[in-house]
Symmetry: C2
Subunit: 403 residues, 2 copies
Amino acid sequence: MPVGLGPLPELLPIKGVRLGVACAAIKKPDHPDLTLMELAAGTRVAAVFTRNRFRAAPVQIALRHLTAAAPRWLLINTGNANAGTGARGLADAERCCGGVAELADMPIESVLPFSTGVIGEPLAVDRLVGALPQAMDALRPDGWAQAAGAILTTDTLPKASSREVTLSGGRIRLTGMAKGAGMIRPDMATMLAFLATDAGLEQELLDGALRKAVRYSFNRITVDGDTSTNDACVLAATGGSGVRVDSDDDRRLFQEALDSLCRELAQAVVRDGEGVTRFITIEVRGGGSERESEAVAYTIAHSPLVKTAAFAGDPNWGRILAAIGRSGIDDLDVGRVCIWLDDYLIAENGGRAADYLESEAARRMAREQVTIGVDLGRGEAAATVWTTDFSYEYVRINAEYRT
Amino acid sequence: MPVGLGPLPELLPIKGVRLGVACAAIKKPDHPDLTLMELAAGTRVAAVFTRNRFRAAPVQIALRHLTAAAPRWLLINTGNANAGTGARGLADAERCCGGVAELADMPIESVLPFSTGVIGEPLAVDRLVGALPQAMDALRPDGWAQAAGAILTTDTLPKASSREVTLSGGRIRLTGMAKGAGMIRPDMATMLAFLATDAGLEQELLDGALRKAVRYSFNRITVDGDTSTNDACVLAATGGSGVRVDSDDDRRLFQEALDSLCRELAQAVVRDGEGVTRFITIEVRGGGSERESEAVAYTIAHSPLVKTAAFAGDPNWGRILAAIGRSGIDDLDVGRVCIWLDDYLIAENGGRAADYLESEAARRMAREQVTIGVDLGRGEAAATVWTTDFSYEYVRINAEYRT
């Protein structure tokens, strides 16, 4: 069951963006599995993709098309990741893009493909292309909620949200949707996120804003450390509001709204993580650099022993301490390290806190949402990572998925 | 249930080494939890310890004593790791050493302490010191099998073995014992291994031989990636055989025997890993360097998705491929990567092998012992890592351990 994730909030349409879904029966019938996002002429697009060296065919094609033309169409399918499919996979992804291009009478390079689902099986291209007219007909500005549902694979709830901000030139909007789950489901592969704004931004500014937002949101979540072959996050700026992001103040406000939206969507992916029973925030501060703070946070977040203790509601500070100790800081002074559960100090001076009460610590660890705080006592740098616990359900889902 | 781990083989006594066990009721009564190893005068000792920055008190004291005097006594207790215990833990470890030193009428620095068990609780020093005379009285050259049982914590079987080699000067022996489980049980912390030989070696040669052997054995096993605060491996060379290891040929033969013994003991730790149902060998070859081959092997070995698939007997090549892709080789040519299960090719050219049959792959993955072979197609370097699968039982053990 997802932790702290409710029904979708109101999703604000973005002028210049229309979304339509269709049932293409890619994996199973009568199930929305195809989404088209149409972007108005003049829209600028920034995108980041998986750093996994095994990049799925649609990722390779999207990267190629991005360098050739301004994107006008995003084509998203579930049910099949078109990954590990070699040369045929590339041709299949191109054929899907070609189907959209033909219907829209636009160059094939204006279409970016995104796929998520089973790895290693050929994509049902004919069925996908056959359903494109249905998706075209369904295009509408308020199609976000439907699309947020159609891009899901084994997620249990849709994940989408909006922001509205007043800049010097007027109000602008941001709306985004995401699906899990990055490292969570590599067979039903992939974290995908699609965001749009009606603000107008220069390409360089847009690229930088997305990179920064992703760094502290989608790149700071982990369920099991496994990075998918298909991960992608796209931000489209249509300029439809007529408001441009130019001044330093406007940039700051836009970045804050984008950061906040990305953080909410990224956390939603974790809240709906496989077998999750606890949503865990790991805040490391007092680091000598952001890099080492991040390394400590990830070492704790990936430790199966910390995660199974969290599943049991066990405030096992010894496991947290051991994870910090092996996170690669050679000159760590363990006598300066402190660990908290929420606001309760559980370890200091390399051991259990002097006033530690097991009952108090267990009470915090029993909560559905818990923050593990660490002060390394080395400097001013910090990093926050969000993760899940490790449950029987996680093993069941991943052990039984193909059986 | 352990995989491929039988009853203890015959253990050869090592001239110059006597072992004795006792019941000190450190955690529970009537249970051998204290082991003494006595080393004859003139014995040389090499030792390697955990690289975790949080080093338990006995590790700190052992390091201090090693620089001050030649070790004559190894004192090993289970039931309490004396880790995360601050200044008191150091004083407690010294008091334990002091107890041995007093009985033996030797300097305290001639005693090295080793502890394994619960983290963060004070050691029952009085009970431990009170049981030392019993352990002293029990000292005998053929005490290896009893000691191999007494150093266990939650291991299900003892782990020990011997080698005999003929060098130019005559026959020499090596006997060693180990307990799990490094990263496996950080509460009942610690991988401990104690080896002895009656060969005579110079200190520098002994140190180098142990470092090399450990590198390709105890440092190549992983269950969950969590390094304990107490890990230690000790090799004592008594010279009791009167045979010296001097010539290049003798060195090679000695190293081979030591490597083989360490490999058997390290594999035994994995075979008895928490919740293990499958013993997995990961062989990476064709790497540009040993370092990158090792990184790929560990990324596969630590992937919860690969491990849960292995638990299910699912030959999920997509998960192995995705793990290789995120293992940090920026210029990896995925088109050259091949993956085998035992001798059966399952992936090539960045996707499923052309002749792949799911039934054939599943038949291999269903075996209790399976080898995942990877060729990176980049060079001549290789690395082998041994690991377990990831089962419900692993979650149960680690979630319920303190509840």
